[in-house]
């Protein structure tokens, strides 16, 4: 008997916060036009170069640098959809993108796991992907699923095995963080078609999307971009993610870093629109800092001003955005650093209005999984979600009659009004769970217990036997072609 899952609880808010004014956003866009037209972007893909050449961009075959005139950028960007629906395996979990709603997902893509049973650190496997997909499926904070860790025991077809492990344990939309390259993405499209039954249904309710990472500064990876072209052609959404690092792969000034990151995202988006007009594309800039003494990747310096400016840049282009959150550099599951660095993330990204947000559940700068971390981060998420909900002011909530009844110096515990409202007045956080003696429990112990409970009790309905058989067949074919023959 498959188990029920609680309803998804995205951040829903009518509040909006803007850090950049229109003039600043226009200047940033002009910077992107300038970079695209005069500096160009290197595409390590003959296929991409041919598409650009065909549409009138200036292509230098030797350097593989494409310079895209402003008119071509504008023409291509006119067909990017602002909103669309991310289909889920289960139609009830489809995510219609819209203003005022921010959907969260887990983090990705880690490669180390602190084993839930043994506590030993080891390389991640397909079983970890399956386990975390099941936990994600249960949590209301998780609107969709991301590749939290890579299935390193599956070799070259790991990304396909990750889809398989996720769909068997999770009925939400799945965004692959690792699927790259034309051949793997063709198998990905085949898996989506097996799930949906037809190419038309895949296009109508895409159950799968991928991220295509750029290489800063101003380079597009062959595998990422050619995989993205395959997905876009099939009507599956693509998220173009740039990761400029201030001082090393981007200027040490924030605006310059955003301009580099934006130019990377827009150049890939233009390509996808030229190849498949109307392709669903997310915009994402996950900027970071390089430590000026060591070049170490730093996600959270003290001065993260306008952290979610990239969301505003995306919206200025008329694109939906992924906001990056929860990327603490702490390797500990529950340190002060792990919580403090990310504490304002969900609040700010919700206020910025990002359509989707990653990523709960990893430590050590997106690389290390503690299965229980997702429960702790879920708490931080929910603090923001509640903070952004409005409050009710009414005679019942003002309770003036009760205040008058209690009089100065009295107490409210003996009031019927209190009996009615006290249970819901406070939602317990992970650190406010009671033990049998009525004392607050250790939050990590609570989180571990919750993980164990979900794993024991939550068993979402898997895809039909027919679909599972078809997925098995596709995986076997992929393994034969990409592992055995290679």
């Amino acid at each position: 008997m498959p188990s029920e899952r609680p309803a998804i609880e995205p951040i829903v808010t009518s509040y909006k916060l803007r850090f950049l004014d229109d003039a600043q956003l226009d200047s940033l866009r002009e910077a992107t036009f300038d970079i695209l037209e005069n500096v160009g972007v290197r595409f390590h893909s003959e296929k991409a170069l041919a598409i650009f050449a065909e549409h009138g961009a200036r292509v230098d075959r030797d350097s593989q640098i494409v310079k895209i005139p402003r008119d071509l950028v504008l023409k291509a960007m006119a067909s990017v959809p602002r909103h669309f629906t991310l289909g889920a395996r289960d139609a009830a979990l489809d995510l219609p993108l819209k203003d005022g709603v921010t959907y969260f997902t887990n983090d990705g893509c880690g490669h180390k796991v602190v084993d839930f049973e043994t506590g030993e650190q080891r390389a991640s496997t397909k079983a970890d992907v399956a386990m975390m997909a099941r936990i994600n499926d249960y949590l209301p904070s998780m609107a969709m699923s991301w590749t939290i860790v890579s299935a390193q025991d599956c070799g070259a077809t790991a990304s396909l095995h990750e889809v398989d492990a996720t769909w068997r344990n999770n009925a939400k939309h799945y965004q692959s963080v690792t699927m790259m390259g034309e051949r793997l993405c063709r198998y990905g499209v085949e898996m989506a078609t097996a799930l949906r039954g037809s190419a038309e249904e895949v296009r109508r309710r895409p159950p799968l999307s991928i991220i295509a990472c750029t290489i800063a500064p101003l380079v597009q990876d062959k595998e990422a971009i050619e995989g993205a072209l395959v997905m876009a052609e099939a009507g599956l959404p693509v998220l173009v993610m740039s990761m400029p690092t201030l001082g090393t792969t981007a200027p040490a000034t924030y605006a310059g870093a955003l301009a580099v990151g934006d130019a990377e995202v827009i150049s890939a988006t233009v390509l996808l629109q030229l190849a498949s007009p109307g392709a669903r594309v997310f915009h994402c800039i996950l900027h970071a800092w390089a430590d000026p003494r060591t070049a170490a990747y730093v996600g959270y310096p003290l001065n993260c001003r306008a952290r979610y400016a990239p969301v505003e840049i995306a919206h200025h282009w008329g694109m939906p955005s992924l906001g990056g959150a929860f990327g603490t550099d702490s390797p500990e599951v529950a340190s002060w650093q792990a919580a403090a660095e990310v504490a304002t993330d969900p609040l700010l990204v919700g206020l910025a209005g990002a359509e989707i947000v990653t990523g709960i559940g990893l430590r050590d700068t997106y690389t290390l999984l503690y299965p229980e971390a997702i429960i702790l981060d879920d708490d931080v998420y929910n603090q923001a979600r509640y903070a952004l909900l409005g409050m009710e002011v009414s005679p019942e909530t003002l309770a003036l009659d009760v205040i008058a009844k209690v009089q100065p110096g009295g107490h409210f515990l003996a009031q019927k009004h209190t009996r009615t409202h006290m249970r819901s007045a406070m939602v317990r956080s992970a650190s406010q769970q009671l033990d049998e003696k009525g004392k607050y429990r250790d939050a990590v112990a609570y989180a571990r217990e919750k993980v164990a409970w979900i794993l024991k009790n939550h068993h979402p309905e898997p895809p039909s036997a027919e679909v599972q058989k078809e997925l098995d067949r596709i995986l076997a074919a992929a393994d034969r072609e990409l592992i055995e023959k290679a």
């Binding site: 890579s150 390193q152 290489i215 595998e223 430590d291 000026p292 003494r293 070049a295 990747y297």
Partner: protein
Amino acid sequence: MSEELFEKLTQAVVDGEPEDAEALVEQALEQGIDPLACINQGLMKGIEKVGELFSDGRYFLPELILGATAMKAALEVLEPRLIGSQKREVLGTVVLGTVAGDQHEIGKTLVGTMLTANGFQVIDIGVDKKADDFVAAIVESNADIVGASALLTTTILEQKRLIDTVVEAGLRDKVKVLVGGAPVTESFAVEIGADGYADDAISAVHVARKLISAAE
């Protein structure tokens, strides 16, 4: 006359001015000053000073890298002009590249710059290089160290393939393997049988030095 020029050369490296360093060595060569003396009495003093300033916290990475870049720019002019059997004293030869399927260049290039500035001869074979390409370069340059960079969880296993290929080529006793890149860890390096691991360009220099002295 030479002394004054050597001092300026030292200063160009300390100030991190590649154009000045290059112009100064051109000038030195025109004046018939010994190129090896330019290296030993000008550039080396400069890079040592840069190292000191970095170590005591006065210099940050950009100053360090610009100092190394100035040194490298001057070396590129001087090395082809060394007279007769003159040879720059090098600590060792390092073949450096990013593994197959991976286009990430910057980390590898920074490591190359730092190694060059610290007395190594660096053969940078570029990005997206197969294990065979690394091995061919090791054979051709008689390298002491091979350094392989990988930035993706999907490409780090190429570092193991490189080690296997080095073994198959019968070179494992002759060349030390140094690995690095964001997803690479010390334990992964040990697991695949690498000789050294560095998580940034500065520690790469320390590890390379250690590997060379251990080999000796």
